[in-house]
C-alpha cells in the first residue's frame, strides 16, 4: 500500500470567504447552484413538482439514502471505501422483513442491526488489521452479503409489515415525515461526532495522512475498525427505514443501492482521497440525488437510464473537484 505522507497542494490552502479554501468554496457553491438549477428546471417542466406531497415524497426518499451514505462518508473520510453498503442494506432488509412478519419486532430489528454491524466489523478487521485494500475487502463482502441474502430469501418477496414498525418509514409527526426527523437527528449526531470529539478528529487525521496519524500515537487501527463498523450499522439502519417505507423486501433491494450511495457522497463533496468533506455535505448530496431521481420519474425518463445517470453524476462531480482542487494527475491514478 503506497502511503503518501506528504500531499503537497498546487496552491497554498489559504482560508478565504466563510473560512473555506478556494476549492472547498467551489464545492459548496457548485452544489448549491446545482440544487437551485434542478429545482427551477423541474418546477418549470413539471407542474406536479412543487406540490407539498411531491416534496414530502422527495424528502422521504432522501432520508434512507442519507443514512446509507452517511456511514460511507466516514469511511471515505479515512481515505477508504465501503463497496458493501448496498448489499449489506439488502441483507439487513431481508432479515428484518422476514423476522418481523414472522411475529417478532424486536428480534427482527436486532437481527438486522446485528448483521450490519457484523459485516462492518469483518470489513474493519480486514482493512485495519490484515492490511487488505479497502475496495477489495468490501468488494468481497458485497458478494458475500448478496449471496447470504439470496440463500436466506430463496427468491421470496416479503410484504405487509405491521403498522407499528412502518412508523419509522411512513409515519408523520405533525406535517413532518418520521424518516426526515431520523435523518436530521442522525446528521446532528454524526456531525458532532466527527467535528467535536477526538474520535472524529482522528478520522479526518487518518484521511489526511495515515502515516502522520500513526506516528502521532493515534490508535489508527481501532479508529478504522470503528468507521467500518459504523458504516455497516448505518446500512442496516437505512434498511429498516427502507423496508418500513416500501412495506416490502426482496433480494434485489440491495443491488440498486451502491451507486446512489456513492453518488450522494461524491455530490456531497467528500474527497475520495480522504480527510476533506463531511456528513453535512452528504446530506445535501442525498437531497440533490433524491431530486434528480424524482425529476426523472416525473419527466417519464425510464429506469433503464438510472444507473447511467448515477454513474455520470459520480464521474462528473469527482472530475470537477479534481480539476478545481488542482490535483490533476498527481495524488491519484492508483488505488490508495
Amino acid at each position: 500500500m503506497t502511503m503518501q505522507a506528504v500531499r503537497p497542494s498546487a496552491r497554498p490552502m489559504k482560508p478565504d470567504l466563510l473560512g473555506l479554501s478556494p476549492d472547498r468554496l467551489f464545492v459548496v457553491v457548485s452544489r448549491l447552484v446545482a440544487l437551485t438549477l434542478i429545482v427551477v428546471t423541474l418546477s418549470i417542466l413539471s407542474p406536479y413538482f412543487l406540490t407539498w406531497s411531491n416534496l414530502i415524497n422527495v424528502a422521504r426518499h432522501a432520508a434512507p439514502l442519507f443514512l446509507l451514505s452517511a456511514g460511507l462518508t466516514l469511511v471515505v473520510l479515512t481515505g477508504g471505501i465501503d463497496l458493501s453498503v448496498g448489499s449489506v442494506l439488502g441483507l439487513a432488509a431481508c432479515l428484518a422483513a422476514s423476522l418481523i412478519t414472522g411475529g417478532s419486532l424486536v428480534l427482527g430489528i436486532a437481527a438486522a442491526l446485528g448483521a450490519g454491524l457484523a459485516c462492518g466489523i469483518i470489513n474493519g478487521v480486514l482493512v485495519a488489521y490484515a492490511g487488505v485494500p479497502s475496495f477489495i475487502a468490501t468488494y468481497g463482502m458485497l458478494w458475500i452479503a448478496n449471496g447470504l441474502a439470496y440463500v436466506f430469501m430463496q427468491g421470496e418477496v416479503i410484504y405487509g409489515l405491521p403498522a407499528e414498525f412502518r412508523v419509522i418509514g411512513a409515519g408523520f409527526v405533525g406535517p413532518i415525515p418520521v424518516p426526515v426527523l431520523i435523518m436530521v437527528v442522525t446528521l446532528i449526531a454524526l456531525h458532532v461526532l466527527s467535528h467535536r470529539t477526538p474520535l472524529g478528529r482522528g478520522i479526518y487525521a487518518i484521511g489526511g495522512s495515515p502515516v502522520a496519524a500513526r506516528l502521532s500515537g493515534m490508535p489508527v487501527q481501532r479508529r478504522l475498525m470503528f468507521v467500518y463498523a459504523v458504516s455497516g450499522l448505518m446500512a442496516s439502519f437505512a434498511a429498516l427505514v427502507v423496508v418500513a417505507r416500501t412495506n416490502a423486501a426482496d433480494v434485489s433491494l440491495g443491488e440498486e443501492q451502491l451507486l446512489p450511495a456513492l453518488a450522494a457522497v461524491c455530490l456531497g463533496g467528500t474527497s475520495l482521497f480522504g480527510g476533506v468533506g463531511g456528513v453535512a455535505g452528504t446530506a445535501v448530496g442525498a437531497l440533490i440525488l433524491a431530486l434528480v431521481l424524482n425529476g426523472m420519474n416525473l419527466l417519464g425518463i425510464g429506469t433503464f437510464w438510472q444507473a447511467g445517470v448515477l454513474g455520470f453524476i459520480i464521474l462528473a462531480s469527482v472530475f470537477a473537484d479534481q480539476i478545481v482542487g488542482g490535483r490533476i494527475g498527481r495524488a491519484g491514478g492508483t488505488t490508495q
Binding site: I136, G147, L262, R327
Partner: protein, 324 residues
C-alpha cells in the same frame, strides 16, 4: 530468530521449499479442489466435464488477462463485466439488423476500447481513483445495454455466430483457441513490449515515472483500452454460447476475473505478479464453481464462497507482505 527472518539469505531452505513458496495460492487451491472433487464426485474427472470447465473458463480467462494488466498498474476495472454485456448487445443488434459480421465485431471492439479510453484517461490524466471511475463506467455501460435492448435479450442470431462457441478447429473448440491466442498476445505485450515494461513500472512507482518525464500516462490509458477490447472479445464467445445477447450477462464476471487475478498471485501493490498465474487462477475459479455446481450448491452460495476465497487470498497476500 528475528534477525534470520529479516535476512532471507541467512535462512537455508531446500530448493523444493523455495519453489513451493513461490507458487500462487491458486495452484494449491486447484490441486486441492481437483483431488477432492475427483474423490467426491465421479463426474468431475471425465472428458465431458473437464471440457465443460475449459469452455466456461475461456471467457473468464480472456477478461482476466486484461484485468491482470490493470491490477499490475495498481488499478482495478469494475466496469469490464457490464462492458462485456454492452459489447455483446451491440454485436448482436448489428448482426440481426443485417450488417456483416466484421462490422459488428469492429463496432463491439470499438465500444470496449472506448470505455477503456474513458476509464484510462480519467485515471491516468485526471488522477481519479480507479475503483470510482470504473464504477461510474459500470453504471453507464449497464444503462446503455438496457436502453438499447429495452431490457430484453437480443435473439434470432444467424447460425454462423454460434461458431464462436461451437466451432472446432483441428479437434480443439474455438473458445480454447481464442483463449490461447489472447494469452499469447497478452504474454508478448507484457514481457516483450514497452507497454508491458511500463505496466510493471507504473505499479512500482507511478509518481517517480511521471516526475522523470517518461510517457507513463499514455501507457496507463492503453492498459485500460486493452482490457476493454478483451472484454469485447469475451462477449463474442459469451453471445455465441447463449445464442442470444443479454444486457446484464456480464454483471458479476468482473468479480470472478478479479478473483482469478488475485488467486493467480498478482498483487495490488508494487506491480508484483504476472499473466501465467492468472490462467491458473481462472482455472481455480472455474473448477471451484464447477465443483460447487456438481455438489448441488446454488449459484447464490457460489457467489458468497468466491467472495470469501478472494478475501482470504488477499488477506494472506498482504499478511505475507507485512512479514516481508
Amino acid at each position: 530468530m528475528r534477525t534470520a527472518a529479516g535476512h532471507p539469505q541467512l535462512v537455508r531452505r531446500s530448493r523444493a521449499v523455495q519453489v513451493l513458496a513461490k507458487l500462487p495460492g491458486a495452484a494449491y487451491l486447484l490441486v486441492l479442489m481437483s483431488v477432492l472433487l475427483t474423490i467426491a464426485t465421479p463426474e468431475f474427472f471425465s472428458v465431458a466435464n473437464l471440457t465443460n470447465v475449459a469452455l466456461q473458463v475461456s471467457v473468464l480467462s480472456i477478461v482476466a488477462f486484461g484485468m491482470t494488466l490493470v491490477i499490475l498498474t495498481e488499478g482495478i476495472d469494475l466496469s469490464l463485466g457490464p462492458v462485456l454485456g454492452l459489447c455483446g448487445v451491440v454485436m448482436a443488434l448489428l448482426v440481426v439488423a443485417g450488417w456483416p459480421l466484421a462490422v459488428a465485431i469492429g463496432a463491439a471492439l470499438l465500444i470496449g476500447a472506448a470505455f477503456g479510453t474513458l476509464n484510462g484517461t480519467l485515471v491516468a490524466y485526471v488522477g481519479m481513483p480507479p475503483f470510482i471511475v470504473t464504477l461510474g463506467a459500470f453504471g453507464i455501460a449497464m444503462s446503455f445495454a438496457m436502453v438499447l435492448t429495452e431490457g430484453n435479450s437480443v435473439t434470432g442470431l444467424p447460425e454462423y455466430v454460434r461458431l464462436f462457441n461451437d466451432g472446432v478447429f483441428l479437434g480443439i473448440p474455438v473458445p480454447i483457441w481464442a483463449t490461447a491466442a489472447c494469452f499469447v498476445l497478452t504474454y508478448v505485450l507484457l514481457y516483450y513490449t514497452k507497454l508491458g515494461r511500463y505496466t510493471f513500472a507504473i505499479g512500482g512507482n507511478r509518481q517517480a515515472l511521471i516526475l522523470s518525464g517518461s510517457p507513463a500516462r499514455i501507457y496507463q490509458v492503453l492498459v485500460y483500452v486493452y482490457a476493454g477490447a478483451l472484454a469485447a472479445v469475451g462477449s463474442f464467445i459469451m453471445t455465441a454460447r447463449m445464442n442470444a445477447a443479454h444486457p446484464t450477462i456480464g454483471v458479476g464476471l468482473e468479480f470472478d476475473a478479479i478473483a482469478a487475478v488475485i488467486l493467480g498471485g498478482t498483487s495490488f501493490e508494487k506491480g508484483r505478479g504476472g499473466i501465467v498465474g492468472t490462467i491458473v487462477g481462472a482455472l481455480a475459479v472455474g473448477v471451484l464453481r464447477n465443483g460447487l455446481n456438481l455438489m448441488g450448491v446454488s449459484t447464490e452460495w457460489q457467489v458468497a464462497v468466491v467472495g470469501m476465497v478472494i478475501i482470504i487470498a488477499v488477506s494472506l497476500d498482504s499478511l505475507r507482505g507485512l512479514n516481508r
